[in-house]
């Protein structure tokens, strides 16, 4: 059976890893900071580029992982500081600017070395087909850790995302909690990007959350709907690209297209629900 022989770990990755991303998606969609994941991934990538150039020019081992972690934290600080309420400047604009500047900065930094191109590609264009046992288990362990933090502190995080006014009234230090939120989110996004690539991260984050929001008001129900959508679409995308041998579809883009189809189906269901509900 080639399916489990060759594709066991990609399949397990698709089943085990997106769950936490779907949860973060609920927050991200509610806060209206849709592109923050791409910006965080790009900042982490910039960190790797900086580490590579330092390594190439000053010798010694380049601490790429440490540097990407450091930059992720910088990004988290940046995003928690820019959660302000400006009448004319939405936070999404700041996120876009951070994204494009860090992407351009990465290119500028990389022009000083040759090695970086591959590193940058492997960082932003993960390929699910090539994922192995160690990577899946290591990432899963990280996600379990982060899930425990969020489970313990869920009231805080949910209030900050879903009831911002209440949180402000209560005098909660939004900045501090946002920082924790963005650091954990950044860790999830950067590790997920390395396995699945940028497009899939975005799809896993946003589409299940939007489907949940279309079909339910309750957070728990939304989460369950989101998990179902992510699981079915992810597995279907992987199987389609593997099993239709004549077409030899690239896995990531196929799955992203399927997410588009899933969203259409969910919108149809939502429309029916509105129409027939009293």
């Amino acid at each position: 059976m080639t399916l489990f022989d060759l594709w066991l770990w990609p399949l397990l990755a698709v089943v085990m890893l997106p769950g936490l991303l779907v949860y973060f998606g609920l927050h991200v969609v509610e806060r209206g900071i849709i592109f923050v994941d791409l910006a965080l991934a790009q900042i982490a990538a910039l960190g790797v580029c900086v580490a590579i150039v330092i390594g190439a020019h000053f010798g010694g081992h380049s601490h790429t992982y440490l540097m990407s972690l450091l930059f992720t934290m910088l990004g988290a600080a940046l995003f928690s500081l820019t959660r302000f309420r400006h009448p004319r400047v939405p936070q999404e604009a700041i996120i876009g600017i951070i994204y494009v500047v860090s992407a351009a900065a990465a290119t500028v930094v990389l022009s000083q070395t040759a090695e970086g191109d591959e590193a940058l590609k492997s960082l932003l264009l993960g390929n699910i087909l090539l994922v192995g046992k160690e990577e899946v288990l290591r990432t899963f362990a990280l996600y379990v850790g982060i899930a425990i933090i969020h489970l313990l502190l869920r009231k805080r995080f949910l209030m900050n995302s879903f009831q911002e006014d209440k949180a402000r009234r209560m005098g909660v230090s939004l900045r501090l909690w946002d920082f924790v939120f963005y650091v954990t989110f950044g860790l999830v996004v950067t590790s997920f990007v390395q396995i699945m690539g940028v497009y899939l991260v975005f799809s896993y984050l946003i589409v299940p959350a939007v489907c949940g929001a279309l079909l339910s008001e309750k957070i728990v129900t939304r989460l369950i709907i989101g998990w179902t959508v992510a699981l079915v679409t992810g597995v279907a995308g992987l199987l389609m690209s593997i099993e239709i041998e004549t077409l030899d579809l690239p896995t990531g883009p196929t799955t992203v297209c399927l997410f588009g189809v899933t969203l259409l189906i969910c919108s149809g269901l939502a429309w029916r629900r509105r129409r027939y509900s009293p």
Binding site: T2, D5, L6, A56, H57, S111, T113, A114, E115, D117, E118, K121, L125, N127, L129, L130, G132, V232, V235, A236, L239, M240, S241, I242, E243, I244, E245, D248, L249, P250, T251, I265
Partner: protein, 306 residues
């Protein structure tokens, strides 16, 4: 949702194609090795190339079929000079096939028996995207293709003894053809001996050495690094000073950059390719080299008559 599950079930039921043929199943990293394997293997082998002819062989993105093909392969042919260093190892790891692991009898290194150029004295990435084992674009010297063909015939014979007479036969036909064509190519390019040409990447060193051209000027400031404005300005000066009138570009390289330079210097941009299939009507190695040699000669000839 129900319909979706149905589609899913249908997909699972599509039977996986089984290769029943007894011949050798060969995977080549790039189309040049695939073409040589077809020439030597003939009907007895099935050959698949991973990188497309128009794709940059330094970067190849995995598809499911690549892993499946590697999983079923008897033989994997690679350059042996780290051309595929950025992408081959994880594919082979994912394929779980002991026939094609490094060091296995089915893992063929094209560079065996070939004298590589540009072997770096000092390994330092600040010099660009250099290949530690030397310049891997050696098949552009036609005589090296003869060495690789011989090597392939040896490997095929070892792994499929029954087919050996056929492989030997194909090899001698290939070698004869190579001798004939080589004379023609040498004659075609002979009038331009010593002429300097510009190339995008350091791909044409072996070709230039064989045909007595000079290919020491590159649009890339360092291998793998995209052209920067100051570097291009220096190249323009150099081209004007040395009267260089031909720029070679491959399908996956920036033709636009070459055209801008051509606009400044009056040079001609020539489309060439290392891989059979990368230019129109070049199904095999000979037709590809015909096309390369003829377009380069034509461009150099046009310069002369001006």
């Amino acid at each position: 949702m129900f319909q979706k599950l149905l589609t899913l079930a249908a997909l699972l039921l599509i039977p996986t194609a089984v290769h029943a043929g007894s011949g050798l199943k060969i995977v080549a990293t790039t189309n040049d090795y695939a073409a040589l394997a077809r020439a030597i293997g003939g009907d007895r082998v099935t050959v698949k190339s991973l990188a497309k002819a128009t794709e940059d062989p330094h970067f190849v993105d995995a598809r499911p079929s690549y892993i499946v093909a590697l999983n079923r392969a008897d033989i994997l042919i690679e350059s042996g000079a780290a051309l595929e260093i950025g992408w081959l190892a994880p594919l082979v790891k994912g394929a779980r096939n002991k026939n094609v692991l490094p060091g296995a009898s089915g893992r063929v290194r094209g560079s065996v028996g070939i004298q590589l150029l540009d072997i770096p004295v000092e390994l330092d990435r600040s010099q660009g995207d250099i290949h530690a084992l030397g310049n891997p674009h050696f098949l552009m010297d036609p005589l090296n293709s003869g060495i690789v063909a011989r090597h392939l015939a040896e490997v095929f014979c070892r792994l499929d003894a029954d087919g050996c007479p056929s492989y030997q036969n194909n090899l001698s036909r290939f070698s004869q053809m190579l001798n004939t064509r080589m004379k023609i190519w040498m004659e075609t390019l002979a009038p331009y001996g010593g002429t300097p040409i510009v190339t995008y990447h350091n791909t044409w060193r072996y070709f230039a050495r064989r045909f007595q051209l000079q290919a020491e000027t590159f649009l890339e400031p360092k291998p793998g690094i995209p052209p920067s404005p100051p570097h291009l300005a220096r190249i323009i000066e150099k081209m004007k000073a040395a009267g260089m009138k031909v720029i070679l570009v491959e399908p996956f390289q920036s033709r636009k950059t070459a055209e801008v330079l051509a606009g400044h210097t009056g040079a001609t941009v020539v489309d060439v390719c290392q891989f059979p299939g990368g230019l129109p009507e070049t199904p095999d190695y000979f037709s590809l080299m015909d096309a390369n040699v003829n377009s380069i000669a034509q461009a150099l000839g046009g310069v002369r008559s001006n």
